[in-house]
Symmetry: C3
Subunit: 268 residues, 3 copies
Amino acid sequence: MNAQEALRKISDEKPLVHHLTNYVTVNLVANVTLSTGALPVMAHAAEEVEEMASLASALVLNIGTLDPGQIGSMLLAGRRANERGIPVILDPVGAGATSLRTRTAERLLSELEIGAVCGNAGEVATLAGLDAEVRGVESLAGDAQSAALQAARSLGVTVAATGPVDYVSDGARTLAVSNGHALMGRVVGSGCASTSTIGCFAAVGGADAETVAHALAYYGRAGEVAAGSSGVGGGGTFEPRFLDALAALAGEPGELRGNVRVEEMSVG
Amino acid sequence: MNAQEALRKISDEKPLVHHLTNYVTVNLVANVTLSTGALPVMAHAAEEVEEMASLASALVLNIGTLDPGQIGSMLLAGRRANERGIPVILDPVGAGATSLRTRTAERLLSELEIGAVCGNAGEVATLAGLDAEVRGVESLAGDAQSAALQAARSLGVTVAATGPVDYVSDGARTLAVSNGHALMGRVVGSGCASTSTIGCFAAVGGADAETVAHALAYYGRAGEVAAGSSGVGGGGTFEPRFLDALAALAGEPGELRGNVRVEEMSVG
Amino acid sequence: MNAQEALRKISDEKPLVHHLTNYVTVNLVANVTLSTGALPVMAHAAEEVEEMASLASALVLNIGTLDPGQIGSMLLAGRRANERGIPVILDPVGAGATSLRTRTAERLLSELEIGAVCGNAGEVATLAGLDAEVRGVESLAGDAQSAALQAARSLGVTVAATGPVDYVSDGARTLAVSNGHALMGRVVGSGCASTSTIGCFAAVGGADAETVAHALAYYGRAGEVAAGSSGVGGGGTFEPRFLDALAALAGEPGELRGNVRVEEMSVG
């Protein structure tokens, strides 16, 4: 589903997007979800995650500040999401940095049906079994395109590897998304929030490569619009305008026409 | 107590407002509390909540990201607050969405003396035993005025049901607060933060209907001021100006004169 | 190490600064760390804190929303940091307000080799065994200079007591840092974030009094720059510009020349 159609459906349906996520960027991902036109909800207790997932149209799992209790709740919520057939989107924050994160990402991919994985090149490369350098939660190197393709093939899910250019692959085709702006990298949580945007799009359009790529294109386009607005002097002043731009584009999806840069990569 | 008097007392006394709250909006509620002139403090460990509540002038309980440990701590802090006679304000975030939240809100209301409840129409209707639609943490329908009145009567506490117009009832009288701006609904946590503002006012003026209504009027008036300031293009750029407006009005409460729209509803 | 040299090294090395911190201000401290040029990472599970600390160049322990599990993880991470010889920076948020916080700060100081402690005058005075008034997490009184000196002497570590003027002492010498702006006190977490800035500087320069003082001078200077920028009307609009100013000064450390106000106090 393309970005304009997805945003119109989100606006019509106001899907609930249930997050089990980290406490560092939770406020930003909630505001990005709301700006996109969906309804964010966070709930992590084992006592309620299944019930909350039953109300939701998509589930976003983000392992950025993982602990054992949260892993159990992710499995409960994910199984319920799978039973209901709603998409589950995984952000493997820090996979490759610690074994708890790598193992947990692998376990979630093994025990749940994940619709799409969205991470930086190093995290995605780790899940593809490639060499990667992940320091903390930052990827320091890696070929995002081949990481996305190989991870998609080995995991059998849609994979997005984000960076200056985002690559989205389902194993058969790979799409390159060149929307975006360098200031997005100066805001903590811009990666987490791109995954939540994929969650919003998947709630109405599924987690296929095209829908995931268009979510990232919309997200990147909002970054371009925000970066060009007056009064922006760095990541700090950029962030509030980025939320405004997401909401403005969600309210007028026609503005995206001609500004979405999603390109099919040839299978060289 | 009216808004001007409450803000002057808050400025004089700098009351400590102890929060047990959710991790999604905790930063905003802390900044709103500080902007109002009070001192926010968050402490949730069973090992210290009673001691912290002993230092506080009001206690705010917000169930937005509930878990069993937090429920136990809310009961400990709430009992200490009751012993000390300081007001306890409850935000039943998501009551009606999951049974954990509904049951917990009911339990807190049953085991503690709550001064005021502040939620959206759906949450308040749930606590009043009325039909309501709550999806995640958003209320999708409901008559806020009758929900507030009926909840106040059945629970025996002051109840605020927030929305485009806020209704505050103590069961005998109902006040309508028409201050506010639509952009407040485009910021995640604006509901949580309105409850914290009630906590600040209650710390100096108690949790009667008039004081609660004036807290919401001040809060809504700040939203109007912020929405009218230059450079606001959406929820993102609105939020920092909203904090500024809260602080500016707290510093010059006389500015509220003629701008507080609190109206007594006739008992039809 | 002076501020210009430290910022250049941070820019070159992009040190990973591992935080175990509170959930109120975690987003701000992460953004401040990123703006300073370092890479923030938060990880708190006992299952991964040692591994994450093994990747880091500094460890920041902030007790602002303490619980028993977090204390255990702080000890695990701190011991690993000590084995590796990376600096451990402690922010004793709320020490003096509750016994859990006071005891935990003392325990961390006793069981770990702490490089520097950074707190407000009341928290530092508490750790020095002096009388102090700490209400919640705010210091309401106290002589910051003598608190810093006496805490440094009794604890045997570098101590920073922040306030309108910051005092940094190693027990032998005391430095006064007069950079800063009153608006910093209108942002929740500005104290926590100053400690993270010390963490960034310590990652490349160690935790001696000069490096700590220069971290605070840089931080305060960014506050001055932000306060002077157009469109600032209070703490809300100040915060994003403060992040921009931190990043701008980190990118052009030469701008600090002549603007760092660090003064050696005579030992009266």
